[in-house]
Amino acid sequence: MALEVGSGLTIGLILGTVIVVAAMLIWVERRLLSFWQERLGPNRVGPFGLLQVVADMIKIFTKEDWVPPFADRVSFIIAPAIIMTVILLSFAVIPFAPNIGIIESNIGVLFILAMASLGAYSVMLGGLSSDNKYALLGSLRAAAQMVSYEVFMGISLLGVVALSGSFNLRTIVEAQEGMWFVVPQFVGFVIFLIAGVAESHRLPFDIPEAEQEICAGYHTEYSGMKFGMFFVGEYLGLVLVSSLITVLFFGGWMGPGFLPPVVWFAVKSGVFIAFFILLRAAIPRPRYDQLMTYGWLFLLPLSLINLLVTGAVILSN
């Protein structure tokens, strides 16, 4: 079997790498956060604390996997599975390198947006089925936040789609041969970055699971590996948003020839993952109504103006 798009070897490699990277991010995030807070972070288990992930996994697998008796059993159990499935499915359309990817799809962008919308079901079901007021509040917030930020997440991408003339992510990368789309679409990039943070509900937009206000939000009642799936799902979302930014705005696998394309992809995505962790270290969480006002009254008009201007420029050329 060769390393080509859609072969079994490639699919296995991508699935394995993505899950391992998401698990390793638990350690990477704790380590980076601690450097930014003038601490050292976990450095006890193994070299540089690398085996911390193994220790965490052993812990999370051996914890009691408890379903509260008052919870709605079926939806309580499928909720964490949804978020993992949906985000792993999104990786299917991402072109990692010219010869690495899972499927060629000419609706790649739409597919990812659709999967992101389905992810909202996971947090909603998880919060509602828990029958806990904190979980309910968390899922209410999550639903509103994800639905509203999806709107201009989509609109901010339309500029890129208009410039490249395709919904196919591979075509979009190839269209950035001369110039990365971050230059003509800088506003779109910033909006997509902000919407991506909100979509993967990470700090500073982790309002659905704000510990200081509502315990852990929608996963208050979860424990053991079900919690672990929400946890790894969040990191998978982080990896997904970072690789999307790389693909859509920073030329995907393209880069000077001294490194193989897939390494360039990994480096660019890694920079954005580190940036998201820096956001978490630096920026405090806004109030819930501030988040909504900011989204609808500022980012939505801005993304529409960006789309209009992009369209006008393309037409005048």
Binding site: S34, F35, W36, Q37, E38, R39, L40, L278, L279, A281, A282, I283
Partner: protein, 179 residues
């Protein structure tokens, strides 16, 4: 509009940059078991019982430390040697109660009980936190190298009569002071 951008966007960017610069700042952490912290000589840690320069126990079982102790963690029993010296038959400190306040050291008239900079006193069994005299007694003098209570005190023991201690005046016969 300008102030809006300045307050919302610019301040966030400044914050991000400020936090990012911390990457190149040395961490404050002291990696404790590998890297021992400097302990100040007067740190109030593990309690010891010291000996005088002749190698005898300094403690005279006066019970002042037990009285001074705010959490009542010191227990002792007075005994008397053949030469008239007092000594503790047992001396017991319950370190699970001790708050390392140092009042016992302040109260001690013979400099016997002293606090040291050692703080590593964790145990797995609670009963192991109770230290007996043989655990507490050290072979040296602690912080005071040349102090010997019986050499300076007026207390009479065999081999040292009244008035024979260091800097002690001869006893006065009060009946001879009559005018």
């Amino acid at each position: 509009m300008y102030s809006l951008i300045k307050d919302t966007l610019l301040s966030q960017v400044v914050t991000l940059w400020g936090v990012f610069k911390k990457l190149f700042v040395k961490a404050d952490t002291v990696e404790y078991p590998d890297q021992q912290p400097y302990m100040f000589p007067r740190w109030r840690g593990r309690i010891i019982l010291s000996r005088d320069p002749d190698g005898e126990e300094r403690c005279v079982a006066c019970n002042l430390c037990a009285v001074a102790c705010p959490v009542d963690c010191i227990a002792l029993q007075k005994g008397e040697m053949e030469d008239g010296r007092w000594y503790p038959e047992f001396f017991r400190i319950n370190f699970s109660r001790c708050i390392m306040c140092g009042f016992c050291e302040e109260a001690c008239p013979t400099n016997a009980i002293q606090l040291t900079p050692d703080f590593e006193m964790a145990e797995y069994v609670r009963q192991d936190m109770v230290w007996e005299k043989e655990d507490l007694l050290i072979s040296g003098c602690g912080k005071y190298h040349d102090y010997n209570f019986y050499r300076v005190a007026g207390k009479q023991i065999s081999g040292k009569d009244k008035g024979e201690a260091l800097n002690e005046a001869k006893p006065v016969n009060v009946r001879s002071l009559m005018p």
